[in-house]
Point group: C2
């Protein structure tokens, strides 16, 4: 039973709040029973798991938790990246908010069993906030890292201002790569130009000019699945 | 120019972080140029607006900001609720996360010009986090508060486990009320039973059993609009 805040494992957990330590140590944390269960279900071996009252004094675990309410369990895991493959891929460019990156990982997993591919300028999907937003899907479908050029298949870029309505998107025989950019800036010109198709989600005139990027990705995944599976 | 942290306006802003003060004073805050602009665009008169360097010392404004990075402007506004009307309504039951409530207000505005109706157990849409997540849509389309029984139109309940696929949803001639529940618990039995239709968003087997509630609401709004407008 760990009874000192100077314990090495607790120190490691504290360090892993920071991206540079996650990169240096090649580790990340998952807090709470649901996420630790998701890791186990995905057969993602932990470096170690600390349970309050079993392995560590509850107050000491709460003190290193990133959850305001504290937590009953924290697992530490090796970071692992996927290869960019599958029928549907979601390529993100400059999506800086970890909550959005995590939410997209979850939606991609739930709707299309799709892999999320991180391009330049994206938030770390292994940050505590992103892992939590993924609801554990980061274990089942870890993201890939790759430049857009390296991805197979038909590239469909989402843009808020231009392109055909999403519902008219034409899908090829091979994989579909949905490309989304940062909330405000959208996709850079070179990505839009390199796309096989540019589509927009139809929005009401006079309202907001765009959706939150996680919402846009989720709607696009729903529509692509609907068309691929022939849902009504 | 305000130069003291004991200034009454700064004290008011600090109080408005708490729900009980927002209710007591009937006010809420919006931080940042984009949100203050959205209020102005919606002709929502502020109680007062404080700009860093003009009305108040920048450090003092940063000190009352809820943004980690500080802010250049904070507006204080009277709370105002809408009436539940329109072609499309989104009824929320027990959605406790303010980020989700705000994001749904934004998606409802952007996709369907729809009003969000808050049932029991929902987060305050006028909290700083909800206002921010709404990206200012809370000014253009403020939410309503009403029990489900009071809403006009056809009630379509979203459930993660049961019902027809969303794409098969039948819409009536009158308004459509999309009903969504809390992330884990879903809608209570009485809401499901009172619904005219129960639908689910088709998810891949073996993956997560549900989407985040804001994602689910956004997909449902997209689908209803697609069918109402006859998008391909």
């Amino acid at each position: 039973m760990i009874r000192s805040p100077d314990n090495d494992r607790l120190k490691t957990i504290r360090k892993l709040r920071q991206k540079r330590w996650r990169e240096k140590l090649g580790l990340f944390t998952a807090e709470g029973e649901d996420l630790v269960d998701a890791a186990e279900l995905a057969a993602w071996e932990p470096e170690f798991v600390l349970r309050a009252g079993e392995d560590v004094e509850p107050e000491l675990l709460d003190a290193v938790s990133t959850l305001g309410s504290g937590t009953g369990v924290i697992g530490v895991y090796p970071r692992r990246w996927a290869d960019p493959r599958g029928e549907v891929l979601v390529y993100l460019h400059g999506v800086e908010d970890p909550g959005n990156v995590g939410a997209i990982v979850r939606s991609a997993h739930a709707l299309a069993d799709a892999t999320v591919v991180l391009g330049p300028g994206c938030a770390d999907p292994f940050s505590p906030k992103a892992v939590r937003a993924s609801m554990g899907s980061v274990f089942a479908r870890p993201p890939a890292r790759a430049p857009l050029e390296a991805l197979p298949g038909r590239r469909v870029a989402l843009d808020s201002g231009s392109g055909d309505a999403l519902g008219e998107v034409r899908l090829g025989d091979g994989p579909t790569v949905l490309c989304l950019g940062a909330e405000r800036e959208g996709l850079p010109a070179e990505v839009l130009e390199a796309a096989d198709a540019v589509v927009r989600i139809p929005l009401r005139p006079g309202g907001p000019e765009s959706l939150n990027v996680a919402m846009a990705a989720t709607v696009a995944l729903y529509e692509v699945e609907r068309r691929m599976r022939g849902h009504a």
